[in-house]
């Protein structure tokens, strides 16, 4: 560690990181546009100018992102010269900026807007016409580019060069005529395009799926973990007023995903907004589906399991460790081996984040003693059973709803899932919360424990799965006593 002084405070700084990192670590506000902790600093936006004094040399104003820390360095982030240099730099950046914040999706989380507000820079001195450029240029399936808003920080260019290692963007043209472009206007490719909307400090690169969807200050942000593969990227779930998930964004987690996440995970939020949620419980009788009380459903389930048991038990790999423990206890009680249904490997596997294993908690469940079976194996087991218990979010989807319907009519099937399976696919269904409605732990492929956050309440009548399982256990015990 290197000892330096920032704004009068003696602090320790990591000598391998540029000065701006130490400034941020020690709560000195230094704005940044081209600098991103996950990318090579290029020192081109010039907004992070601070005053530095080293030894006997006179104080100089330097860009903090390209300045290494040195023992004894004295940094003044608010020195009049440095502050003035930043203000001037900001004025240049705003000179051609369209200032269409009222219709910009980035407004509210825009570094340029924030710093302009902080500096109270409400009035421009330019009377020149602003640059007219392409306002909505599609860069493929995921991203739209607004060339006028772009401040040419080149973070997006470096993201592809350095993180995915497949350069796709460049700065085309010179000087004030520069624009971000792909080679020959080709659309962007790959599973990581969404990240450039995150790294973009302004509203130049926006997600097509988030365009005009919400004002960001109306979004409630909850730290959580992505469930699309066994990497378990740290994410933030962003939910609008009525509970609609509008965005998943990567959350910095050095041990897992750093600053990034894949598009597959990013856009998986849409399934949380599916409206066919199962609230409470449904029983399928001779008169068709009938909504019943959960307590009633648990008693009925216990009755079914007791009469037709022992049941086959299959759980979803989306179960958390905590839910897994209860499910295993239940399986032990009914004398079934604990098994989870694993979907086939995903072709999205890559060297960056996606592991190709769609089970976010495979490791956690295996550690609890669960073994993985394929959907076909699970179906085979179901076919030879008189009754069965399917537990957890997406379990019906995993085994296949049509496959469930094709099972012998005599099979008594109790399903604990988020959605209502079509008639005859089950005897009894009880709703459970999905991944944005519950807390818990997933153990990723490397053993990292990722926490789920409840970004919104579960629909009314849906209890946490742990409680439902406990209720089922209690009902089973009661049924045994009654016998």
């Amino acid at each position: 560690m290197t000892r330096i002084t920032i704004d009068g405070r003696a602090v320790e700084a990591d000598p391998k990181k540029p000065l701006i990192h130490a400034c941020h670590q020690h709560a000195a506000h230094v704005p940044m546009y081209c600098y991103h902790p996950g990318l090579t600093p290029v020192g081109s936006c010039r907004i992070c100018q601070v005053e530095v004094k080293q030894g006997e040399m006179p104080a100089r104003v330097v860009v903090a992102c390209r300045t290494p820390v040195a023992e004894g360095m004295v940094v003044d982030t608010e020195a009049p010269k440095a502050h003035e240099a930043r203000r001037q730099c900001l004025e240049f950046l705003l000179k051609n900026h369209p200032l269409d914040c009222p219709i910009c999706d980035k407004a509210g989380e825009c570094d340029l807007q924030d710093y302009a507000f902080l500096e109270n820079q409400g009035q421009g001195r330019s009377v020149e016409p602003r640059r007219k450029l392409e306002k909505r240029k599609s860069l493929g399936e995921v991203i739209v580019l607004d060339e006028e808003r772009c401040i040419l920080c080149s973070r997006c260019v470096r993201f592809f060069e350095e993180v995915t290692k497949k350069p796709q963007l460049t700065v085309a043209g010179m000087g004030a005529r520069s624009v971000i472009a792909t080679f020959a206007d080709r659309p962007l490719e790959g599973n990581y395009q969404g990240n450039i909307a995150d790294v973009c400090p302004v509203g130049a690169l926006t997600l097509k799926k988030f365009r005009f969807q919400a004002r960001v200050w109306n979004l409630k942000k909850t730290p959580s973990t992505c469930g699309e593969c066994s990497r378990g990227c740290a994410i933030t779930v962003e939910v609008l007023r009525k509970g609609e998930v509008k965005r998943l964004r990567p959350r910095y987690e050095p041990a897992v995903n750093q600053w990034w996440m894949c598009d597959h995970g990013r856009f998986s939020f849409e399934r949380f907004n599916a409206e066919d949620r199962l609230q409470g419980a449904v029983a399928y009788g001779p008169r068709g589906a009938e909504a019943i009380d959960v307590e009633q459903a648990l008693d009925a389930a216990a009755g079914l399991l007791r009469v037709h048991g022992p049941p086959a038990v299959y759980v979803s790999p989306w179960l958390t460790v905590e839910e897994g423990e209860r499910a295993r206890a239940l399986a032990e009680r009914v004398g079934a081996p604990p098994r989870f249904v694993a979907p086939p490997p995903s072709p999205l596997k890559d060297d960056l984040l996606h592991t190709g294993d769609p089970c976010p908690n495979r490791r956690g469940l295996v550690e609890l003693g669960f073994s993985a079976v394929s959907a076909a194996e699970a179906l085979e087991g179901l076919r030879s059973a008189a009754c069965a218990l399917l537990i957890g979010e997406r379990i019906v989807e995993l085994v296949g709803e049509d496959a469930l319907r094709s099972l012998p009519a005599a099979l008594r099937l109790v399903v604990l899932d988020t959605t209502v399976p079509a008639a005859s696919a089950s005897s009894l269904s009880i709703g459970v919360p999905n991944a944005v409605e519950r807390t818990g732990t997933w153990v990723n492929v490397d053993g990292h424990r990722g926490l789920l956050g409840a970004a919104r309440p579960a629909p009314s009548g849906v209890a946490p799965l742990v409680r439902t399982l406990e209720g089922l256990e209690r009902a089973l015990a009661a049924a045994e006593v009654a016998r």
Binding site: S44, C89, F92, L93, L152, T170, G175
Partner: protein, 442 residues
């Protein structure tokens, strides 16, 4: 101008000066032979150049010997190392390297070889601006001639020293004359300057130790080796040694490239060599060293052309390329042209330069068209203060800011007149006649 030896241009003015046989007939490659055969060590050659006081002729005026000494010791740092010869000559008003390359390409080749020997470099690249077709061909031919004579390639003149020289043609961007922009361009990348540090001597071409030298700088080296550093140091002023090529253009009787000792006054160059302001008109303004050094008023024409005198006058020696404006010229219009140039040539990396060069251009264009506002004049100063000094990765931003400051400082009245009268008070300028600049030395 006092009588003086014009060692650089004398060689250019000989019949067939570009040919090896003519160059050799007048002692050419003698300096290289001296270095290789009299057992000079590389360190001794660097010391020679240091002692001579030679400063770079590309604009910044940094000590050449010192720059060479920054190259790491090859014993400790065995990486490949390069010399990049800056023949991009892109500063408006500058045309001296063109004369040297066309007329004395072997002088350049010899300078390159000695520099490479001193820095233990085995590969040199000559980065020639794209428009310079004849200079490119002349240097290329000189390299081939020298190679055939055993002066370029393996074991030069039978010594252990080997050196290859390769040519590269630029594509016409001003910014590729900036040393790190030049290296990016040589690497086949977008020509934009690199942040420093790291400096080229540690991390240059392809990340290897590299020195970038201007053509004229290298042309001086064989003379220093042959005649000794004391001879060189005695020319010019104590801090600016040697002769310098001055390209003078604009409203003068005899525009061209002249050779004078550093410290010669601008008036002597204008009046004695270039024949004075044309058409017996009066001098209004002059630029001492290329467009980035800004305008000086006629009252400062007695300033001496050397690094320190011009710094004191609030300008720079730059490339010592004088541009002269007569009394009928409009400095605002001239400045608009300069501002347009920097707007066009900014690479666009740094915010202040990308936006500032455009902004300055827009303001000067409005002023010249009678659409200026009184507050624009102070705005110009304020913007230039935001762009320089040292606020950006390279000096292009400074190059636009310096002339802006100069015009406000020295020609404020004219700016105000443009605002007041809502038009340019001067008639459209007469076109400068096109004249050959080659070998125009009197």
């Amino acid at each position: 101008v006092k009588p003086h030896e014009t060692y650089l241009l004398d060689r250019c003015n000989r019949e067939g000066s570009q040919r090896l046989e003519v160059y050799r007939a007048h002692g050419g490659y003698g300096a290289l032979e001296k270095v290789l055969k009299q057992g000079f060590t590389p360190a001794q050659v660097i010391q020679l150049v240091k002692d001579s006081g030679l400063r770079g002729r590309g604009g910044a005026g940094f000590s050449t010997g010192l720059k060479w000494s920054f190259m790491p010791d090859p014993e400790k740092d065995p990486r490949a190392r390069y010399l990049a010869v800056n023949a991009d000559e892109s500063e408006p008003g500058t045309c001296k390297d063109r004369v040297l390359m066309e007329k004395d390409p072997h002088g350049l080749v010899e300078g390159i070889l000695i520099a490479c020997y001193a820095m233990r470099i085995e590969t040199a690249y000559v980065y020639v601006r794209g428009e310079y077709r004849l200079p490119y061909r002349r240097v290329e031919e000189a390299i081939e001639e020298a190679r055939a004579a055993g002066l370029v390639g393996k074991q030069i003149l039978g010594s252990a020293f080997s050196c290859e020289i390769r040519m590269h043609k630029g594509a016409g961007a001003y910014i590729c004359g900036e040393e790190t922009g030049l290296m990016e361009s040589l690497e086949g990348k977008r020509g934009q300057p690199r942040p420093k540090p790291p400096f080229p001597a540690g991390f240059g071409l392809w990340g290897q130790p590299t020195t970038v030298n201007n053509v004229e700088t290298l042309q001086n080296v064989p003379f220093i080796v042959e005649r000794g550093p004391q001879w060189f140091a005695a020319i010019g002023t104590p801090k600016s040694a040697g002769n310098i090529l001055v390209g003078i253009s604009g409203h003068v009787e005899r525009p061209g490239v002249y050779e004078v000792p550093l410290g010669t006054s601008a008036r002597e160059i204008l009046e004695d060599l270039a024949g004075g302001v044309w058409k017996r008109r009066k001098l209004k303004a002059w630029i001492p060293g290329g467009s980035s050094t800004g305008f000086l008023p006629a009252s400062l024409i007695d300033v001496k052309l050397d690094h320190d005198s011009l710094r004191e006058a609030g300008s720079m020696l730059g490339t010592a390329s004088m541009i002269v404006l007569d009394e009928t010229a409009c400095t605002v219009r001239a400045m608009e042209t300069i501002a347009r140039f920097y707007d066009h040539e900014s690479c666009g990396q740094c915010s202040q330069c990308r936006e500032g060069t455009q902004w300055l251009h827009q303001i000067f264009a409005r002023l010249e068209r009678g659409q200026g506002r009184a507050e624009d004049i102070d705005l110009l100063t304020s913007l230039a203060n935001g762009m320089a000094p040292g606020k950006t990765i390279c000096a292009l931003s400074d190059a636009a800011a310096i002339p802006t400051h100069s015009i406000v400082r020295h020609f404020r009245a004219e700016l105000e007149q443009h605002v007041r009268e809502r038009r340019c008070p001067l008639a459209a300028p007469e076109a400068s006649p096109r004249r050959a600049v080659l070998g125009a030395h009197a």
